[in-house]
């Protein structure tokens, strides 16, 4: 039978603040000696108290604003109570009914996905299962304990894995643009939890609106916990669709449960059913006063939000007359978009068009760490090789530049060879814009001897 797929997503994004969420310990933990970035607070020692990290809160609000959320003027932290060895206090400080951000959205190509909430919480420690003196042991590393996490929760608006992947790419891109998270999947900076259920198409043929009507949600949902790659999320969803279809085909209803992704088997496995589900006994965290955000404070945070990909794409298409496809690729990373804009500026001196520069960046993928934007123009000109220029003209141009720039010549002779780039640029400026500049550097070097 055909089913309509209903997917919602919870995503944890680890912030890259200097210190942890509630103490002064360094938030850097990846690959470090265990239990070296710890203190009474993140170890949950008796008597220790949490003091919230202002930057982390501001960054959480920054994310919420970028996702078009309403920002609560009064937010608070809550305790989420549960026992697990990696949770030293026996509760996690999170946010329950008054998160920083509510009711936002992300625009995908052909759909708007609603964001239910954006809230702040602390990460847990990490369990390591290893043999210690030949005994099978579970060890706890608290370096990660208390590192700030932002959780972004969507409404169940996704209908397929493509939309989920697009959303995740966009979310990752956004937090990177905001400069608040490395969003490095390898390091677990983003952890993903899709919830999936299926609705029989026949019961609902009339309601095919773009946004899912919450009242028509299936009577169950299956949550898959803690996946750390976009590819595995897609796989897990596909596996769940298959598994749940089979159950529904038999005329049964899948059980409401939490499942885990088994990477080795490439399938999901049951972890807890509804009956075993936790009662987290949320209540307001008494150790932290409510967080009040004034209109001015929110405005200030808003000002720190740079131009985001969507706006950038629109501006690039208008200003540089490039296609949306090109604009999309150029804006995937903020550093490349900035590079492109600088290269266009520098290239205009050589009468290069933005389109030419865009094409070169997209097709040749230059290493932007090594080639400065000014050099890129030269690179483009050199590869184009249109007009051959006489060696006589070239020599003349070189002589002229060397005469005009005695300081550069002197610098070069005293060993500052990097000045060669400057001289080369000057020479090129004297030549026609489309002149082939093959071997120009060598000629200058000869002339300098």
């Amino acid at each position: 039978m055909e089913y309509q797929v209903v997917i919602g997503l919870e995503t944890h994004v680890e912030l890259k603040t200097k210190s942890k969420m509630f103490c002064g310990c360094s938030a850097d933990y990846f690959g470090l000696e265990p239990n070296t970035h710890v203190c009474p607070v993140c170890l949950g020692l008796p008597g220790a108290l949490p003091v919230p990290n202002k930057t982390a809160i501001e960054w959480c609000v920054r994310i919420a604003l970028a996702l078009n959320c309403k920002i609560s003027s009064v937010s608070k932290f809550d305790r989420k109570n549960y026992f697990y060895p990696d949770l030293p206090k026996g509760y996690q400080i999170s946010q329950y009914d008054q998160p920083f951000g509510l009711n936002g959205w992300i625009e995908l190509k052909d759909k708007r996905v609603r964001i239910r909430r954006v809230h702040m919480e602390e990460d847990t420690g990490k369990l390591i299962h290893a043999d210690v003196e030949k005994n099978r042991s579970s060890l706890i590393d608290f370096n990660r304990s208390g590192v700030p996490l932002v959780e972004v929760v969507t409404e169940p608006d996704f209908e397929n894995t493509q939309q989920v992947t697009e959303y995740l790419q966009k979310l990752r891109q956004t937090v990177r643009y905001l400069d608040v998270s490395s969003a490095d999947m390898e390091k677990g900076d983003m952890r993903l939890e899709p919830n999936i259920s299926l609705r029989s198409n026949t019961t609902n043929t009339t309601n095919r609106s773009n946004t899912t009507n919450d009242l028509d949600l299936p009577p169950y949902k299956v949550e898959v916990k803690n996946i750390n790659s976009f590819r595995f999320v897609a796989k897990a969803i596909d596996e769940e669709i298959k598994r749940q279809s089979e159950i529904l085909d038999r005329g049964e209803t899948p059980e409401q449960e939490t499942r885990g992704w088994d990477e080795k088997k490439g399938t999901t496995v049951s972890q807890r059913t509804k009956e075993e589900s936790h009662d987290y006994r949320y209540f307001p965290e008494p150790d932290i006063p409510p967080v009040i955000l004034t209109g001015d404070q929110i405005l200030n945070i808003k000002k720190q939000i740079p131009e985001l990909p969507d706006e950038k794409i629109t501006r690039f298409m208008g200003k540089y007359k490039i296609t949306d496809y090109d604009a999309d690729i150029l804006t995937r990373e903020r550093s490349i978009a900035d590079y492109f804009e600088q290269a266009v500026k520098d290239g205009s001196k050589h009468k290069l068009t933005a389109k030419q520069i865009a094409n070169y960046i997209i097709n040749k993928k230059p290493d932007i760490e090594k080639t400065v934007p000014a050099e890129l123009a030269e690179l483009i000109l050199s590869t184009r090789g249109t007009t051959e220029i006489s060696s006589q003209d070239l020599k003349k141009a070189i002589e002229q530049v060397l005469l005009e720039c005695p300081k550069a010549v002197e610098d070069y002779k005293s060993g500052k060879t990097q000045v060669l780039g400057f001289i080369t640029g000057k020479v090129r400026a004297l030549l026609p814009p489309n002149a082939s500049t093959e071997g120009i550097r060598e000629l200058i070097e000869q002339a300098l001897k």
């Binding site: 009474p40 949950g44 020692l45 008796p46 008597g47 220790a48 108290l49 949490p50 003091v51 919230p52 305790r79 109570n81 026992f83 060895p85 030293p88 206090k89 026996g90 509760y91 706890i140 009662d279 006994r281 949320y282 209540f283 008494p286 150790d287 932290i288 006063p289």
Partner: protein, 466 residues
């Protein structure tokens, strides 16, 4: 007078005048402890370095140091974390726990120059009103050893009453300083919530815990608060405001002050001798020129129910970390009262019950707070009994937790409202002490000291002849 019987003020003056040394006072306290602790059980741990600390304090004074508590031997409730010195919360769970850091208040006291004599007994995890819930045997009332000294800060109160320490620290979540103070003829301060840092003090109920102390006089209490009060960057709930000099108005007298007497605190259940005693105190206030007026705190009757929902809820969460993974002894080592409160609190926070219990209690809490705010528009301070009854015999209420809870009826309100309360001795019923409490608006400690001091001046301080 023996050196261990001195007040802070007298001791500091004597030390300054080189009449005696800190080593001598400390020795006097330690020998008093040695002599009487086996009968009273006020101390759980004696600081082996107390003598060395006293020596250092004397040397420091010799080289010009003059910090406010330099060389004063004090005792710390065993809820206060002390680096390198065993801290048990009077529970078997933490029987062998050696903290890695000092509580902020302990650090402040050390910076002020105190000598730490040791750690005092109390109801385990500060759960109790008599001291009998200690996992290490109850503390006895030094005035009559068949009776309880009040709790939870039983050992701290007894240590000051029996002149084993010049002063001591306590925690007051629902009356745990004021009640034992009134049972032992000591002065007990429960400061405004957020005035004194909670960092490094084992949490009972985080939104109610107040960090205070026991002294022999009101003036000593003010000297002590001058050291402990103020913002702590490690405790987000502490005040950002600068704190005053609490000795400033001490001798201003109380002429012209308006003091409220809440009628709800004088209902049935109040022991007739206590009633008589406090009526005497009210008369004293009038003689001193204050005006006393009857006021109403209409939501008083709900305060105990409200407290015994909020406190256990927070307790159930705060005790979760003692899960047996990291602190030596596992959860089977919790005593009956701790288990009772963990179960109560777990229940009241459970989904489906949260709205009916915790949320409702928080709403009532707001009403109780408002009662006080409205009262303080009419009066400067409030006087009330501390305990509805005099001290009871050891064992009398241990089988009836509800009867035990009822003894907190007149003290929990100040914790729910976050206001300060000062328990001041007001005489004896038979051979057992009694006292009243002065309540004021938030951050009105200076006023409370002024009132308490004025009252205290009208009578001779009675030293226990143990």
């Amino acid at each position: 007078m023996k050196l261990n019987e001195l007040t802070i003020k007298e001791a500091v003056e004597g030390l300054k005048g080189k009449k005696f040394s800190s080593v001598e006072i400390t020795k006097a306290c330690l020998s008093q402890i040695e002599k009487h602790n086996p009968n009273i059980n006020a101390f759980l741990t004696i600081n082996e370095h107390a003598f060395d600390e006293a020596k250092k304090a004397d040397e420091a004074r010799e080289s010009g140091s003059n910090t406010s508590l330099l060389g004063i031997p004090i005792a710390l409730k065993d809820m206060y974390l002390t680096k390198g010195l065993r801290t048990t919360a009077a529970s078997h769970v933490l029987e062998n726990y050696i903290p890695q850091y000092d509580a902020t208040v302990v650090q402040k006291l050390k910076d002020a120059g105190v000598v730490i004599l040791g750690k005092t007994n109390h109801d385990a995890w500060a759960h109790g009103s008599s001291g009998e819930n200690s996992d290490f045997e109850p503390t006895k009332n030094p005035w009559n050893k068949e009776y309880v000294p009040g709790g939870s800060s039983s050992g701290s109160a007894a240590s000051v009453a029996a002149d084993m320490a010049i002063a001591s620290t306590g925690t007051d979540t629902g009356g745990s300083i004021r009640l034992p103070a009134s049972f032992t003829n000591t002065v007990g301060l429960k400061p405004t919530y957020g005035l004194v840092s909670r960092y490094g003090i084992i949490a009972m109920a985080s939104s109610l815990d107040s960090i205070g102390h026991f002294t022999k006089t009101v003036e000593d209490s003010a000297i002590y608060l001058n050291v402990t009060a103020g913002n702590d960057p490690m405790d987000a709930t502490t005040t950002k405001n600068k704190t005053p000099n609490y000795l400033e108005d001490l001798n201003e007298g109380i002429k012209g002050l308006k003091i409220g007497v809440p009628k709800e605190y004088f209902t049935q259940g109040l022991d007739s001798n206590i009633k008589k005693n406090i009526e005497g105190a009210i008369k004293k206030f009038e003689e001193l020129g204050a005006e006393t007026v009857e006021i109403s705190l209409p939501h008083t009757e709900y305060s105990l129910a409200c407290y015994y929902i909020i406190a256990p809820s927070e307790i159930s969460s705060n005790l979760a970390r003692y899960d047996g993974i990291r602190y030596g002894n596992d959860r089977t080592h919790f005593g009956d009262e701790a288990v009772r409160r963990i179960i109560l609190g777990t229940f009241t926070l459970s989904s489906g019950y949260y709205d009916a219990y915790y949320k409702k209690a928080m709403q009532v809490r707001t009403l109780i707070k408002r009662d006080f705010e409205q009262a303080f528009e009419k009066v400067d301070a409030i006087i009330s009994p501390v305990s509805p009854t005099p001290p009871w015999k050891i064992g009398e209420k241990t089988d009836d937790p509800l009867a035990m809870y009822l003894s907190d009826a007149l003290t929990v309100t100040a914790n729910l409202a976050g206001i300060p309360g000062l328990a001041v001795p007001s005489g004896f019923i038979g051979d057992l002490p009694t006292g009243f409490q002065i309540l004021g608006p938030q951050f009105s400690e200076k006023l409370l000291f002024r009132i308490g001091h004025a009252f205290e001046q009208t009578k001779e301080r009675r030293v226990l002849d143990i």
